[in-house]
């Protein structure tokens, strides 16, 4: 993991997929090259005008290693990832596509397991699979199975946007961080934590819908799915886009004790690690307590907590306050060296 200024890489490296600084550089390259045909706003979903109404649209690809884990698989992640990206835009997810790249030799039984997970997770999220595609590649040209899902949702309330965030907004996490990363790494390497620490992978549109109803109109300003790049990537994105300092309290971060153990063993900071069932919300202070109460009454939000706030300071940095009250700048990682967790 490196910090600071770097030359642009002449070829794709694993860290281009980490969700950290190199990923953002890659996205910038894509956007610049696409030019005026790109009209996205760099939210988790695009908000699009369609004949006087608005829809949300998003897409995501999934290359999880291992594709099958203790409490889920790539099929569950592929539905959750896209459903959650639509939900954090403030949309109600409705329709998903399902694209599959299958490696020769993949047992049909494993494909059926993945499809069963897609079905069950889609049922829970209240979405339908409306079209799909399959491609088969030779042995070694893919790792068992890769998925892509695109999703469409409708807006039944005002969209959530980064631009609505204001100084004083509370930064709220809906659940613990780091568990998905520890669970998958533990299965990948046999680290011994896989039964104690499970993936947090879950469809969170129901949770977010409940909060938006409880909070009061317009008082949850923005939301992000805390996936690859972790909480740090989300906070840096907001600090940069808003031109504001975001301050967090390290001690407030919800982290399972076994996850602390594993991260300490691996030398990884959980604030940089991927999750699949955790949202970061930016909430008007007037609604903070209502939002926390609503979150904690839901099975996917029982450990929700406020971790910081957006300040009025115009330096676009993330400040982290430790147990002793000392503040330091949270550095943005160039890459993360933890590929294929999503």
């Amino acid at each position: 993991m490196e910090h600071g200024k770097h030359e642009a890489s002449p070829e794709i490296v694993l860290d281009h997929g980490s969700g950290a600084q190199l990923s953002r550089e890659l996205v910038s390259l894509i956007v610049e090259t696409l030019g005026d045909v790109h009209i996205g706003e760099m939210e988790d979903s695009a908000t699009l005008s369609v004949r006087g109404g608005r829809i949300a649209m998003t897409t995501d690809s999934f290359v999880v290693d291992p594709p099958f884990f203790g409490n889920g698989d790539i099929g569950k992640i592929a539905v959750c990832g896209t459903v959650n990206d639509l939900a954090v835009a403030g949309a109600t997810p409705l329709y998903l596509t399902l694209g599959m790249i299958l490696e020769t030799g993949l047992p049909i039984e494993r494909l059926v397991r993945v499809l069963t997970s897609v079905r069950e997770t889609a049922r829970e999220a209240g979405v339908h699979i409306v079209c799909g595609d399959t491609k088969v590649v030779r042995k070694g040209e893919a790792d068992q199975i890769y998925l892509n899902t695109a999703g469409v949702g409708i807006f039944e309330r005002e969209p959530l946007r980064m631009g609505r965030v204001r100084p004083g907004d509370r930064v709220v996490l809906t659940g613990p961080i780091g568990n998905h990363t520890v669970h998958l790494l533990s299965i990948r390497e046999g680290l011994g934590f896989e039964q104690r620490v499970l993936s947090d992978c879950a469809p969170l549109n129901g949770l977010l819908g409940t909060i938006l109803d409880e909070a009061g109109e317009g008082l949850v300003h923005s939301a992000r799915d805390v996936t690859r790049g972790g909480l740090a990537a989300v906070l840096h994105e907001y600090a940069g886009a808003l031109g504001r300092t975001v301050r967090i309290d390290r001690e407030a971060l919800p982290i399972q004790p076994e996850t602390v153990m594993a991260m300490d063993m691996l030398g990884i900071d959980p604030i940089h690690t991927a999750n699949e069932g955790c949202l970061c919300l930016f909430v008007d202070p007037a609604a903070e307590e209502r939002v926390l109460a609503a979150l904690r009454s839901h099975r996917y939000g029982s450990q929700a907590v406020t971790i910081g706030e957006v300040t009025g300071d115009t330096e676009p940095v993330v400040l982290s306050r430790d147990r002793a009250g000392q503040e330091s700048v949270l550095e943005e990682l160039r890459g993360a060296e933890l590929p294929r967790l999503c």
Partner: protein, 196 residues
Amino acid sequence: MGKIAVLTNDIQSDVVGKTPERTAAVEAARPRFLGFLAEMRRRGHGIYHLQLVNLPDDPNVERDPDGTLPLQRGSRGAAIIEDFLAPSDVVVEKNKDSGFYETELHARLQADGVDTVLVTGLQTQICVQTTAADAFFRGYNVWVPSDCVVSGNPEDRDRALDWLGGYCATVAESDEILAALDRDGELARKVVKILP
């Protein structure tokens, strides 16, 4: 009172000989390590050797620079090094870092009435650490004889021992462990506060 078992990790020539630093570290630890194993056998405690075997279809296995798969089942490089092995010892194959991960180790220890494990071998910061953590999560009383664990880099070893002592194990030199057994007839379980 449950039985005590010693678990060794990866005492195999493909692992020990991977770097000159590892080989030297094992040689330095060898006299005390062998002496401890012999004394534990003499006292009637079981020795379980965790034998790392790489599976050909595991995409995460680290191959040699020429693409060869090290530690193949039945190969000379995967065999437990002879000095460390006695006829009464048990060898348990493992395919990942933790000796408990999808192996028969837990079932064998349970069947043998073991509730305390002394985790040894190499490398301290990988297989010893993960096997100890896994044992702790499964409810074993975990001890680590600090002079019977090895790393190619001494700093990795020291950091791993700090982690083990801080989270899930009692770390002590092998002669201290033997003295505790002489004195108390058992090894006390550490009170660990990390978990609720």
